[in-house]
Amino acid sequence: MKKYISCMKGIIYKELIRFLKQKSRFFSALVRPLLWLFIFSVGFKTALGLAITPPYETYITYETYIVPGLVGMVLLFNGMQSSLTMIFDREMGSMKILLTSYINRNYLLFCKMFATAIVSTLQALAFLFIAKWYGVEISYYGILITIPVIIISSIILNAFALFISSVIKQLENFATVMNFVIFPMFFLSSALYPLWKIKDSSILLFNLSSYNPFTYLVEAIRFALYEKFDTQIFLVIGISFIISLLMAFVGFKLKKV
């Protein structure tokens, strides 16, 4: 048992040191959602009317609506970047050290994804505090209880990213990943607009968004932020957690060095 704890501790330790040393990475990860919050949402709010839908109990501003989606954006970008790095590193770098360990490889991959999730969570928290300072209605208690949801969501996205970057060779390039994975996942979700709004315009897009796991991650963050619980959302998250990890382990194993 000691070796597993020590291993987890070491991997988190390394990720945190890298995170603290690469300040530019931290700021660029923050700038992206902040641009959406400070600029996009200001322009967009007049074009979009929001009805009262759960978990909200009153009318909310558009800035308030998109904050959970932008937290999802932080996790999505970070997960993709980290998973692509893992694939590259497998062929030429520090992942070799991890893969030649005598400890179970799936456990090591999980530790790596968990460590990335911790870093993503710190970035997401920084974003949430800035959003609160900006005037978005979120309570500190809401932020606190969202932390485990953010960690789990991040692990799901890291695992999914690891799977697709393992099995699809053409995705070993971040620009391609942006166009073919990140943007479709992000836009086909409830991150920027509620699903009922999409349904009004296109049933097909509504259906696609309803099957997009990212929608449920965003909704889980939204519900947690406002101290609410929805069984269906959390059930989907639980199933996604297990399936995405299995996909990541299998995908990584199949990946040719």
Partner: protein, 240 residues
């Protein structure tokens, strides 16, 4: 008790349809400095990848310290590895890299440094422990990688072309240090190289060509067997 620390039996390996290892068998005796000598593309690094489990074994058997490679939690427990490519994290200090690797071997940070206290001095790395790896020269980085490989007190140390890209002094400093480990710690070494001047006449050697072991034994015995003057002539004769 088996006198071999590493044994490969009838190992074949292909990348797709291209066969790169063809019925490879060789062994490393405990407490010896064994060289795997071959030209580029001979299959040395593939053997290294199979022993370290970076590639999955397709056919044949690999045993490390009496454990089959499939039982990796035991087989890989007592080995140290130095890769041909740099694998240190450049943004971390030497000490942080060592801590990280120690944790992958199940050691606490304190245990990690205690386990290599003497070797830090012997490799003259005391002054760079808190230096970021990015600021070290190639020779220092290599020494750190060797130090790191010793953290778990391995019984077998695998080094894949560890002196590539280093100047002559650094190359022989590292080589002599590793040879000294065999004498001091009774460590078994697999030294993979294509450089003849790194081989001594008393070393165990396996000569590989195009995925086949051409011969193995003690260098001076092999030279005598083929009635040649030196290893270079013997090698040229075997791989011609």
């Amino acid at each position: 008790m088996n006198k071999n620390i590493l044994e490969l039996k009838n190992v074949d390996f292909s990348y797709g349809k291209k066969m790169v290892l063809n019925n490879i068998s060789f062994k490393i005796r405990k407490g010896t400095f064994t060289v795997l000598l071959g030209l580029n593309g001979a299959g040395k690094s593939t053997i290294f990848s199979l022993i370290t489990r970076l590639q999955n074994l397709q056919t044949g058997e690999i045993e490390i310290n009496d454990y089959p490679i499939k039982n990796y939690s035991k087989a890989l427990k007592d080995i140290g590895i130095v890769f041909q490519e740099p694998t240190l994290d450049l943004d971390l200090t030497v000490k942080q890299n060592l801590h990280y690797y120690g944790s992958l071997k199940g050691l606490t940070f304190k245990e990690t440094l205690i386990s290599i206290e003497d070797e830090i001095k012997k490799l003259e790395l005391e002054d760079v422990l808190n230096t970021t790896v990015r600021n070290l020269n190639g020779g220092h980085r290599r020494r750190v990688e060797i130090l790191r490989a010793l953290i778990n007190k391995p019984k077998l140390l695998l080094l894949d072309e560890p002196t590539v890209g280093l100047d002559l002094k650094s190359r022989f400093d590292i080589l002599n240090y590793v040879r000294d480990l065999v004498k001091r710690e009774n460590l078994s070494i697999l030294w993979i190289t294509h450089l003849f001047d790194e081989v001594n006449e008393d070393d165990d050697i396996s000569i590989i060509k195009a995925g086949k072991i051409m011969d193995e034994g003690i260098v001076k015995d092999i030279v005598t067997k083929y009635e040649k003057d030196n290893l270079v002539d013997t090698f040229n004769f075997l791989v011609r």
